[in-house]
Amino acid sequence: MSSLDSLRELTGEFRPPAYDDLVAVSRTRRQRSVMTAAATGVAAVVVVIVGTLAVTRPGDDAPQPAGPTTPTPTSDLSSPPPPVQADGSIYFVADHRGGDALTDPLSFEQAEFHRKPWDIYLSRRGEPIRRVVRTEAGESCLQVSPDGNRLAYLEGSTIVVVPLDAAGDPGAPQVRAEPPTPPTGCPQWAPDGRSVGYVALLGDPETPLYSTRPGEVHAVSLDGDDRVIASFDTQIWHTPDFAWSPDSDAVVYTTESGLWRVSRGGEEPELLWAPAPGDASQELPMAFDRPSSPTWSRAGEIAFVVYTSTPDEANNPYGTGTDTYTIHLVDPRTDRVAKLESFARIIADGQGAQWSPDGSRLAFIGPDGQIRVHDRATGRTTILTPRPRPRATFYEVGWAPDGEQLIAVQYAEKLGYALDSIPIDGSPSELRTPWTWALDWVGVDGVTWGSR
């Protein structure tokens, strides 16, 4: 049937989201409207009151149609625009061919197949985007210090720390540290802001499979002193990760055999979690569960991801199988371990969960590409569907310093990528960059949000 009537078949296909979600959005907007009115003074209050009276006027029971025939005045036109609320500085890396304002034309093919070094850009509300580090030296792994006063990043494999001024501009490097080998992951600020840690793998990179290499967790102080704070051996096929404790006095790190905690005082490492024992005679070592992406909350819990590979056919490591990623939580004070959620996939290697700055919430991407926020106090996990793009797919997510917003890289076919900030209260999300292919290959490790 090829008639207009055939479309009616689709009616049942459009399933409404939970009504309560719409009620929550309405409530949030009403609260914001009241707050905006209070902030913008008497004139704005008058507009709100007039609007309220207007909707209760008898006989006016339908919204006015828009369009040239019946222009409808709105408060947007009759009142001044609300002032831009600053919410810190978002630093991110991008292909330098995007130009100083990230508006230079760059094609998909150029960005995807002919990568060029990244530079560092800055996005602040109410200000044009600008390139603040223009070395074309391949900066990556950005992280603003806990106090918002410094920015650490990798320049190639060199760890660089620069001060940030009030306008968000970086100054001359305060630290340039050369790790013994390129860090296995991104350097991490200690919560006390006094050092930057990283993991290095030593030994011969050509070590045969199923043998071990030594690994080290290092801490680089602000005067450039680089010290080893933990040493371990790990299988060559495992990429170790680490995380700082909230008091900066200990770290956790991963090996293929588990999650380990060690204090900076040099005590023996303590095994916090180990994978379930498998049948070594039936499995390749790589098929065992293994941990990655630890992150230690300010409240004391550690979240990490356990990767499990399950072959569909017994004893056939080259057959088909299922990769499962499960978020685990362990409280080192009680040794209690809980599984939070399983994934059928994780797009980005090393992507795990992210604690909110106060440690009360955990954000991560579900197998459906949706952002989830888990509240530790209530135990509830909420799926955030950023409006007005309910069908967008996100790959990685990070937190704003106020803990009220998330930042994510979003992809749209034919447009490219953009940074999107998503309030966790369900308010509309906000694009923080133009759509550009210059953000191709950039993960959330390439984005950091400072409070200044």
């Binding site: 049937m1 090829s2 008639s3 207009l4 009537d5 055939s6 479309l7 009616r8 078949e9 689709l10 009616t11 049942g12 296909e13 459009f14 399933r15 409404p16 989201p17 009504y19 719409l22 009620v23 959005v25 309405s26 907007r29 009403r30 909707v55 209760t56 008898p58 029971d61 339908a62 919204p63 006015q64 149609p65 828009a66 369009g67 025939t69 019946t70 579900g366 459906d368 590409g369 949706q370 409006r387 007005p388 793009r389 309910p390 069908r391 967008a392 797919t393 992809y411 749209a412 076919e413 034919k414 447009l415 759509w435």
Partner: protein, 164 residues
Amino acid sequence: MSRSAALQELYEASYGRLVLQMFAICGDVAEAEDAVQEAFVKAIGQGRAFDQVRKPEAWLRTAALNHQRNSWRHAKVVRRFATTVPGPQSSPEVGPDHVAVVQALAGLDRDQRTVVVLRYLADLSTTEIAHELGVPEGTVKSRLSRGRERLAPMLEEREETDHV
């Protein structure tokens, strides 16, 4: 029945219909769902005032149409492309026939398309359409006439029993 329960009942009963109508007008499922959800958010925000609305579904449809027209141009482009990204929600089963119909509708200008959809999918009379869109009934009839000419093959099945 409480106000909230009544609106929720209307939401569950009319959501699919309204999304379908918006989809036929804009050709984008996500945009259509956005518009309808925005309309309901507005209705919820009206509180007690919404009780005075004589034709709630018509009110919601007009609000959704307004939202579609007023959508930020850039966001609209974004949504159009975003629907092609493998999405987290299950997509409705839009078959080739449905796509063909929506593509044919897209050949009309927006005003004609809106009138055709309200007439043939929302089953409104020309008087009702004129009221909802705030245009003279003669304008509705002329838009409908031009739209019907261009969509004649699709509307054949209705022609026999339907006269404006």
